[in-house]
Symmetry: C2
C-alpha cells in the first residue's frame, strides 16, 4: 500500500474465501453476493467478493499456492504463462479488479475475512502502524465491543514487500477470527465477524460524512519471527505445542517457559532472552510452512488524529 | 466382522492416519513405527500402522475417496484396475495385511485412531452391540477414567454392510477424539488417546492372561439417521448449526429445539417426534457428505460375561 485512500472513500470491497476452507468469510461472501443490501451505506457501496472460488469449491486453503502471499510485484508484473499456478493467475485478476496495486485507480479499502485454528479471538491484521486510516478503523472496532478484545497485529517485517490480498488497495485490513477448524462454520464466530464488518463499514460512512477522529495511543503486536515445531530427521513432527502454550495467544511467553512437549514426554523450553507474545499458536495451515507459532513484540505508539472532511455530497438520486 | 477373535488374541494392530488430517493417530502411528516398544505386551505384540500414507503426506482426509468407507466386499473383491481410486487399492492392501475380512486369517483386533472437529470428547465406535469382546473393552476403557466420559457409539445400521478399516479384523474399535481441527495436533487430546490405547492393550493382555469379565449393563448411542444443513438452490450452506446445538454432542435434542440458524437470522427447529442424541455435530469432513449431525438413540442393554481363559503360555524365550 503505497498510496492512501482519497477521502471520501468510494470503492470498498469485502472479501471472503481468500483461503477456501476458512468458512466464516466464505459463507458471508456467498450470502452477500445473493443479498448485497447488507453492505450498503449512504456514501458508498461495498462490493462482496469470493477471492478464490476454485479453492473454495474444493474446501481447501489453496489449490496451487497461497493466494494471500501472491500479491508481490514479481507475480503481478510477470508475463502470464499457461503453467502459472492458479492462485498467481487469480492474483492478477484480483489486481485488475481491486487495484492495480499502488495506483490511483486502486480500491480505497479492502476488508479481507479470515479464520484461524488458533485461539486468537478477533484479530485485526494490518501491514504496519503507518496506515493511519487502518489504525483508526481498528480503534473504532475495539471501542465497539470493549468486552471482547480485538487485538491489532502488524504482520509486515521492515523491508519486506507486502503480499496480501488487501495490499492491492490503498488501505485495508484483515479480520482474523478463531478458533475455528478449517472447513467448519461456527455460528458464534459468524455473528462476531458479521458485526465487525458492519462496524467497519459504519466507520467508513462516518469518515465520509465528515467525522473527525482524535489522536490516541494504540497497543499492537508486531511480528518478530516464527518458531517451527520440533521435527524428526525426516521432517515429521517430533513434538506438539505444549499444553501451557496452547490457546494462550497474545499472552506473554517468558524465557524458560515450556513451548513444546516431545512424544518422549520431555518438555522443550523457550530459550529467548526476552518476553514475547506468541500468536497463531498451532494454526493448521502453518504446519507446512514450518511455523508452530509467530513471536511478536507488544508495542504502544501514538496514532495522529484523522481530521474531519467536508461532508460528502449525497449521491445523485 | 463375521468371525470372533480366537482367544488368546495374538494379532493386534493399532492404526493411525486412516484419515490423513486427523493428527493424533497420524502422530502416534509415526512415533510407534520409530519406537514400537510402547505397544508391546507379554502375551502379544501390537503392530503400528499408517493406513493412508498418501493422504497423510498431503494432510488431507483422503486423496480419491474415503478409505474408511472402502472395506466393502464390492471394493475388496473386484478385479484391480489401474484407474481404481487410490483408497480402493489401499483398502485391498490393508485387507491383505490385516485380513482377509471375515476369514480365519484376519487379525484378532484392530484399533483405529480418529479425530473429529465435533465436541465429542472420547467416543468408542463399534459396529454393533453384538461384538461382545469390543463391548467389554469399551467397559474397561470407561472404568479407567470415570471422570472423563468415553461414550459408546454403534454406527452400523441394520442390514448395512460393514465398511470401516477395523471391520477387516475379527474384532475392532474406532477411537474418536475431539474437538480437534483437521491438520492440528493438540497435546491434551494426544495424551488422552495414548492413555486409551495403552488401556486397550492392557485389557487384551488381561484377557489373554485368563481374566474373566462379568456381565454388565451398557449404555450406548446407536445411529438412526443423518441431518443435512439447510442449503441454497446451488447447494451452498444457507445456515449453520445453531449455537444452542453446537458442542452439545450426546445431549438430548427435544422436538421444537433450534438446530440451525439461517443467515437471515431465522431459527430452524427440530421437527422430529421424539428426543434424539446428536453426535458428530459440525464435523468438518461431513459437510461434503451432506451431514450436519447424526441422530442417535440412547440404548441400555445387557452384555454377557466374558469367561476367563486358561492362562496363555509364555512366549518362548
Amino acid at each position: 500500500m503505497c498510496s492512501r485512500p482519497e477521502p471520501p472513500l468510494r470503492h470498498v470491497a469485502v472479501v471472503g474465501g481468500t483461503h477456501g476452507n476458512e468458512m466464516s468469510g466464505v459463507y458471508l461472501a456467498r450470502y452477500w453476493l445473493r443479498a448485497p443490501g447488507e453492505l450498503q451505506r449512504p456514501s458508498f457501496s461495498a462490493v462482496p467478493m469470493l477471492a478464490n472460488p476454485v479453492a473454495t469449491a474444493a474446501c481447501r486453503r489453496y489449490v496451487d499456492c497461497d493466494l494471500n502471499r501472491a500479491f508481490t510485484s514479481a507475480f503481478l508484473t510477470a508475463r502470464a504463462h499457461p503453467d502459472d499456478p492458479y492462485e498467481v493467475t487469480r492474483a492478477r485478476e484480483l489486481n485488475q479488479l481491486l487495484g492495480p496495486k499502488a495506483s490511483g485507480q486502486a480500491f480505497d479499502f479492502v476488508l479481507d475475512l479470515h479464520n484461524t485454528t488458533a485461539g486468537m479471538g478477533a484479530c485485526l491484521i494490518a501491514e504496519s502502524a503507518h496506515d493511519v486510516f487502518a489504525m483508526h478503523l481498528c480503534r473504532h472496532l475495539q471501542l465497539q465491543s470493549p468486552e471482547l478484545p480485538s487485538r491489532v497485529f502488524l504482520y509486515q517485517l521492515p523491508g519486506e514487500e507486502s503480499y496480501s490480498v488487501h495490499s492491492v488497495a490503498k488501505s485495508g485490513l484483515g479480520l482474523e477470527l478463531g478458533p475455528q477448524p478449517q472447513g467448519v462454520l461456527r455460528a458464534d464466530l459468524l455473528v462476531r465477524m458479521r458485526a465487525l464488518v458492519a462496524a467497519a463499514l459504519d466507520f467508513i460512512q462516518l469518515f465520509n460524512q465528515g467525522t473527525a477522529f482524535p489522536a490516541f495511543e494504540m497497543e499492537a503486536y508486531r511480528k518478530v519471527s516464527s518458531v517451527d515445531f520440533p521435527r524428526t530427521e525426516t521432517g515429521d513432527l517430533a513434538g506438539t505445542v505444549h499444553p501451557q502454550l496452547q490457546d494462550r495467544d497474545f499472552e506473554p511467553l517468558r524465557p524458560g517457559a515450556p513451548i513444546f512437549q516431545m512424544c518422549s514426554g520431555k518438555d522443550v523450553l523457550y530459550e529467548g532472552e526476552s518476553t514475547v507474545y506468541p500468536v497463531f499458536i498451532n494454526e493448521a495451515a502453518y504446519y507446512e510452512k514450518g511455523i508452530a507459532f509467530l513471536q511478536t513484540e507488544k508495542l504502544t505508539f501514538s496514532v495522529p488524529a484523522l481530521p474531519g472532511l467536508a461532508p460528502a455530497p449525497s449521491p445523485a438520486p
